[in-house]
């Protein structure tokens, strides 16, 4: 730096020489479309299969099955919005203002629904195993309906602020149009801070605490019992909670860092911000990936679910009924109806 660059400079600090932060997002432009397509291709078939298996036997579904069905619907809708975000990462938001509000809201509703139904499944298992109370007996079908309705309405209400503030706007600093929430400029930071905080608490912290509580209690109960599938059940519980934790914690930690930077709690630094942005993209991929893993973790591990899946395949002619009979799948299916709901709970996922 020499004198000709500036005219008045007291020379006591180096603040003024820092060049502006760069605005390239080449990482996002290359990796995000790959991430999104990967999750799209993995998540859509798995969750659609769960729906295809569970929907035809709506009448005879257990409570866990009904939550699983809702979870699959939420995951499918969430995954369906991914192509839009992939396009945005490359070209900016090229769709209309209305599409931004709609797609953004669908994403939000199902983001919450996906996590809340996981909590419902945990709670249902907690009551049936720890307290041996079957909250959702067949005689209380309306209660089941009410729970699902409450979850969906809650997700809808939580998304209302997003629906109101979501907008496709030209961000000249990013040099592109983005579909994100737009606030009045003076209050943008305050609002963002509040909404970020709320979403982290409601969409991650509380569900995590609830799931930890439910599954820890279940493990304690199982350790005391002499169940025949005890070890298998414990392994499954640990994988369910572990995968949820592993998929979502990195994202929320980076998001917290990003909020601290945005609220100016942390001092600004171009390199650090770039790192946080990249980390946010990578960790969000693991969050999305959880949608693809739900069918594997909750549905396909269930003995009953696999039976129903084989039956569906037999009905559509993909496999012969003889094969099913030889493998002993059909008698097992008939036995289902007489199983107690506790065994149901332990078989349909645990």
């Amino acid at each position: 730096m020499n004198d000709s660059d500036y005219m008045e400079y007291n020379g006591s600090n180096t603040c003024c020489f820092t060049p502006p932060c760069s605005r390239t997002h080449s990482f996002d432009q290359v990796l995000m479309p790959i991430f999104h397509s990967l999750v799209f291709m993995l998540g859509l078939p798995g969750n659609c299969l769960v729906m295809a298996v569970l929907l035809p036997c709506r009448g005879s579904l257990t409570s866990t099955d009904i939550f699983l069905l809702n979870l699959a619907v939420a995951d499918v809708l969430l995954v369906l919005t991914l192509p839009f975000w992939a396009v945005q990462a490359v070209h900016g938001w090229v769709f209309s203002q209305g599409t931004c509000k709609l797609v953004g809201s669908i994403f939000n509703i199902n983001f919450y629904a996906s996590i809340f139904f996981l909590v419902c499944i945990g709670g249902d298992r907690y009551f049936s195993i720890v307290h041996a109370v079957h909250v959702y007996r067949h005689s209380r079908a309306h209660l089941m309906l009410l729970t699902c309705a409450v979850v969906w309405v809650a997700c809808f209400l939580l998304t209302l602020p997003d629906f109101y503030y979501l907008s496709a706007w030209e961000d000249d600093r990013l040099n592109r149009t983005v579909c994100s929430k737009e606030f009045s400029i003076q209050h943008a930071r305050k609002w963002r801070g509040w909404l970020d905080g709320c979403s982290q608490v409601l969409g991650f912290l509380l569900p995590l605490v609830a799931m930890l509580f439910c599954y820890t209690s279940i493990i304690i109960t199982l350790r005391r019992s002499q169940g025949f599938h005890k070890h298998r059940a414990m392994r499954l519980i640990l994988s369910v909670v572990g995968v949820f934790f592993l998929c979502w914690t990195p994202y929320h930690l980076v998001q917290l860092l990003e909020t601290l930077i945005d609220q100016e709690v942390l001092t600004r630094d171009c390199a650090r911000e770039e790192g946080v942005d990249t980390a946010l993209s990578v960790t969000s991929f693991f969050g999305y990936l959880h949608c693809c893993l739900n069918p594997l973790l909750y549905a396909f591990v269930g003995v009953k679910f696999r039976g129903k899946l084989l039956e569906l395949l037999a009905r559509t002619g993909c496999i012969s009924r003889d094969l099913l009979r030889r493998k002993g799948c059909l008698p097992a299916l008939r036995r289902d109806s007489t199983w107690s709901e506790t065994t149901d709970a332990s078989n349909s996922g645990l």
Binding site: P20, F111, D162, Y251, Q255, D262
Partner: protein, 83 residues
């Protein structure tokens, strides 16, 4: 919500300049001036000058020189709007 800007779906924009910026630059060395108005990415106006052969620098937006550049920019964009 988790899904806010700078979030799962959209990258967040930020102020481009860190710190107050340079009080002034030599007018002869300025190759290009970029002015970014206040937006959701950044709550204040930013003036970035590209210096000949020296890369980009932030100009203190409260300095008289920056003020002049902003005035010039506003006049230009007003004219462009009227057209």
């Amino acid at each position: 919500m988790a899904v806010v800007q700078g979030s799962m779906t959209s990258r967040r924009g930020r102020c481009l300049c860190i710190g107050p910026g340079m009080p002034a630059v030599h007018p002869k060395r300025v190759a290009k001036v970029e002015i970014y108005g206040p937006s959701n990415s950044c709550d204040h106006i930013e003036v970035i000058v590209t210096l000949k052969g020296k890369g980009q620098k932030c100009l203190n937006n409260k300095s008289p020189q920056a003020w002049q550049m902003i005035q010039k920019f506003m006049k230009k964009s007003n004219k462009a709007q009227r057209k």
